[in-house]
């Protein structure tokens, strides 16, 4: 059905007339369909009804994104659809973030992510960023062609849970080891979870450079990030619950 037909024939749904349960279901659908404005409207309504920001985040946005992530992994949803859903989530997060900060709620996790020195490829990294954001992570993207100093500076400044590094070339991927080795020298390696990814990498390479995880694709990156952060925070149970 084209957009024009939808506009003509689909009855306008007034979100405010729904019960909480119906509204949450509707928001799952809206996120799944990448409806940015509708998801923000739903978020506003729940907040007006007295929902705490972290409840909206966890019970609606993160839960909704989990449905999207599962269907992406199973080949039911495709990249453009996931990006739309992540974009809708981002809109709702913009509403929630100041409230979450006010109440001092701990976010699901924070990640500093960037492509390594000598490498200017960023589509894969951007996909990971968007999926991470969609899953509720706070993402600090430091872009492409990052020497070790950039990573250290960002770690110092943002104190993330995770450092993510990306590379698309066999020439640039060894630089991941340079970064990790420097972190070791400075005695800060174990302060962070280090995840690596990129087309030429594999599991073995991830282990060899001393990363905590190799992420084959963006959906897997989110899964690994969630479980490692949860493990770190001593609540591994929650990650699988």
């Amino acid at each position: 059905m084209s957009n024009v037909e939808e506009l003509q024939y689909e009855e306008e749904l007034d979100l405010s007339t729904l019960t909480d349960d119906e509204l949450v279901e509707q928001m799952f659908d809206d996120m799944y369909n990448g409806l940015h404005d509708e998801l923000i409207e739903g978020t506003d309504i729940l907040l007006e009804r007295g929902w705490a920001a972290d409840k909206v985040l966890n019970d609606v946005l993160v839960a909704g994104m989990a449905i999207v992530g599962a269907d992406f992994r199973d080949g039911i949803l495709f990249v453009p659809e996931v990006l739309s859903a992540a974009n809708a989530m981002k809109g709702a997060m913009a509403v929630l973030r100041p409230l979450l900060a006010e109440t001092g709620v701990e976010s699901i996790g924070k990640i500093v992510i960037g492509t390594v020195k000598g490498d200017i490829h960023d589509i894969g990294k951007n996909l990971v960023s968007m999926m991470m954001e969609g899953a509720g992570f706070e993402v600090i993207d430091i872009g492409i062609n990052n020497p070790v100093e950039n990573y250290l500076e960002a770690l110092e400044k943002h104190k993330p849970d995770i450092l993510g590094m990306s590379a698309l070339l066999t020439t640039t991927m060894p630089y991941m080891k340079v970064v990790i080795d420097t972190m070791k020298e400075k005695g800060i390696r174990d302060d962070y979870i280090v995840l690596v990814g990129g087309a030429p990498l594999n599991e073995e390479f991830g282990e060899a450079v001393g990363a905590d995880g190799y992420c084959r694709d963006a959906a897997i990156a989110v899964d690994i990030a969630k479980s490692l952060v949860a493990e770190r925070r001593g609540m591994a149970q929650a990650a699988f619950g």
Partner: protein, 300 residues
């Protein structure tokens, strides 16, 4: 009219504006192929050999050879693979690595005029790769990005390509020996990626007058029925002026789209290549029987 000639010791092929479209088979590449990577690392090249034969049989005009395996001796493996492939076929090769030492090792053992894949607009790269290309009198794939990244603006990428062609000339490499890769982005992630690529290909063809190649299947990353998008893209890119692609000839849509586009662009006189490729073989039964009867009559 620009012709880029590449060849083995016994065979030359031409990538050119008025020539049939050239398919460079992409399969000999361990990226994302776990078994192949493990085998290549152990020096088992049986799958490489099978991939080479299958791609040639399917219609590849040249073969890309890549040995980008993490934590492996890429220069040695690449050189060994090139020697192996050249021992079983005279199809020209495209030597593919982002490691200069691997390109060098490959060029040293290669028989003929290779296509080196690739050099970018990064000055450090240019200074390392271009002298190798010149020394071995090879042709080179130029990727239209530089230190600043991959621009989404096709006009910026055009300027990068132009600078690479100019820098190539500084090293004594002719423009006809530079094949530009416009860098095809996934249209599922960047919605204008198709239009960007087509616009850039057109400018490269009409203004810079160079041959072009690309990793065509990038366009459909993250989408269902990738073959459909790949085929459509290849046809449109050929109309815009693209003259070769690094693609999988075992995929029917690649062969259909490129041979079909050759027909429509007037590069397949009397549609002879198309007919030869797709003529139904005589079926057993009626057709076969007719053949037998005719030969009996002739003998009688």
């Amino acid at each position: 009219m620009t012709d880029t000639i590449i060849g083995s010791a016994a065979k030359e092929i031409v990538i050119g504006f008025e020539r049939p479209f050239v398919i460079i088979g992409e399969r000999i590449n361990p990226t994302g192929r776990k078994t192949l990577a493990a085998e290549m690392k152990e020096g088992d090249y049986s799958r490489v050999e099978a991939d080479a034969r299958a791609q040639i049989a399917a219609g590849a005009h040249a073969l890309d050879v890549n040995a980008g395996i993490p934590l492996a001796d890429e220069p040695r493996i690449l050189a060994e693979v090139i020697q192996l492939v050249q021992s079983i076929t005279d199809t020209p090769l495209c030597i593919d690595s982002s490691i200069v030492a691997a390109l060098q090792a490959g060029l040293e053992v290669y028989q003929g005029k290779a296509l080196v894949n690739s050099v970018t607009g990064e000055e450090e790269q240019l200074e390392q790769v271009m002298p190798l290309v010149k020394k071995h009198e090879a042709a080179v794939v130029a990727i239209s990005n530089d230190e600043t990244g991959i621009s989404e603006d096709p006009d910026v990428r055009f300027e990068v390509a132009k600078r690479i062609v100019e820098r190539a000339a500084d090293f004594g490499i002719k423009a006809c020996d530079v094949v530009v890769d416009p860098l095809v982005m996934p249209v599922g992630a960047v919605n204008s990626a198709g239009q960007q690529a087509l616009k850039l290909i057109h400018r490269l063809r009409t203004e810079l007058k160079v041959n072009t190649t690309c990793g065509a299947s990038n366009i459909s990353f993250g989408l269902p029925n990738r073959d459909g998008v790949n085929g459509a893209f290849l046809s449109m890119a050929i109309h815009s002026g693209m003259t070769s692609a690094i693609a999988n000839p075992l995929h029917r849509e690649v062969v259909n789209a490129t041979l079909g586009a050759d027909v429509l662009m007037g590069r397949d006189p009397d549609c002879a290549r198309w007919i030869k490729r797709f003529r139904e073989p005589p079926v057993t039964g009626e057709g076969a029987a007719r053949g037998r009867r005719q030969s009996r009559r002739r003998r009688a």
